[in-house]
């Protein structure tokens, strides 16, 4: 495959020989086999690095986002974007935007940042982005992370900056119709290590890899 953009997890996923599709110019694993939905219910791990992301920070970042019509969440929380996707506030003045498959807000913000607005600075986001689902989520989190996710109130849409098996991560719990989804972002260079570690634990808990067909691309 000769794509210009590749997920930081591409090589690890290619070894599992999934059915590929293209999303945002990046190869994305759509399905691994008939057991995808079963693994998703137990403990599914999917690579969603293909979703469009945009990062920004700076003293005027909050005012600038408001000027663009983007609702700004409170510190350490997130909110859905109007046409799909999400915006997470990572501190007083740093934000991460990510589009859902049908959304375009993050892409639009990134193009506007090219004009170098005063007091707003683009942050390169080439993260490895994961999506975790299923009944085994909390046992996996307890094994890999010193933060107690059971104490979180998902109703306030929290964002947690912490470490997982020694890797700095952003973790975002989402209450979805089919249960809790956990979104995880980390520096791409640590992505494969995090992926392999989480996958090893997931397999012990009867879970494993999941393609995007059963997750976001169906608009769930």
């Amino acid at each position: 495959m000769n794509a210009l953009r590749k997920s930081p997890l591409h090589d690890a996923i290619a070894a599992l020989q999934p059915e590929w599709g293209m999303h945002n110019g990046m190869p994305a694993a759509l399905q691994f086999d008939q057991g995808d939905s079963q693994r998703m219910a137990a403990l599914g791990i999917a690579d969603v690095s293909c979703l469009w992301r945009c990062g920004l920070k700076g003293p005027r970042s909050m005012a600038w986002l408001t000027e663009q019509g983007v609702a700004v969440p409170a510190v350490n929380s997130w909110t859905p974007l109007a046409n799909g996707g999400l915006i997470a506030r990572l501190g007083n003045s740093e934000f991460l935007l990510e589009d859902s498959p049908g959304g375009s807000t993050a892409q639009r913000m990134q193009s506007l940042l090219a004009d170098r607005p005063h007091g707003v600075y683009p942050v390169l986001r080439q993260d490895a982005a994961l999506l975790l689902t299923g009944a085994g989520l909390h046992p996996l989190l307890r094994q890999t992370c010193s933060f107690n996710f059971m104490t979180l109130d998902t109703a306030v849409r929290p964002v947690v900056l912490t470490t997982m098996v020694g890797v700095v991560v952003i973790v975002l719990p989402q209450q979805m119709p089919d249960g809790m989804h956990y979104r995880i972002w980390c520096d791409g260079t640590y992505g494969e290590y995090l992926w392999r570690t989480l996958l090893d634990i997931a397999r012990e808990l009867d879970g494993g890899v999941t393609g995007l067909n059963h997750l976001i691309l169906e608009g769930k």
Partner: protein, 91 residues
């Protein structure tokens, strides 16, 4: 497990933090005497007691100040540098 409270991110295990040295207000380099400036540049106070220290929450790169009793290794409070005057310190 030791827990330290980040003013932005809340209580976290100490493994998520990096120590940044004692907080020491810088004298005005134009007004300070040579002796006062040399003291600021070269000398450190290693005596036990109540210290203000720089700490960084690594996952969010949040630098803040923790007031720590180094005799008992107990953190009394933590706050952002912006609040230092409210906490009774000098920038």
């Amino acid at each position: 497990m030791k827990i330290l409270t980040c003013p932005i991110n809340g209580p976290r295990p100490i493994s998520e933090f990096t120590y940044g040295g004692e907080y020491r207000p810088m004298p005005d380099p134009h007004a300070a005497s040579d002796v006062a400036w040399a003291d600021y540049v070269f000398n450190r106070n290693g005596g036990p007691g109540m210290k203000w220290e720089w700490w960084c929450h690594t996952p969010s790169t949040t630098w803040f100040i923790a007031e720590r009793d180094t005799v008992r290794d107990v953190v009394m409070r933590s706050f952002l540098f912006d609040d230092i005057s409210k906490q009774g310190g000098a920038a």
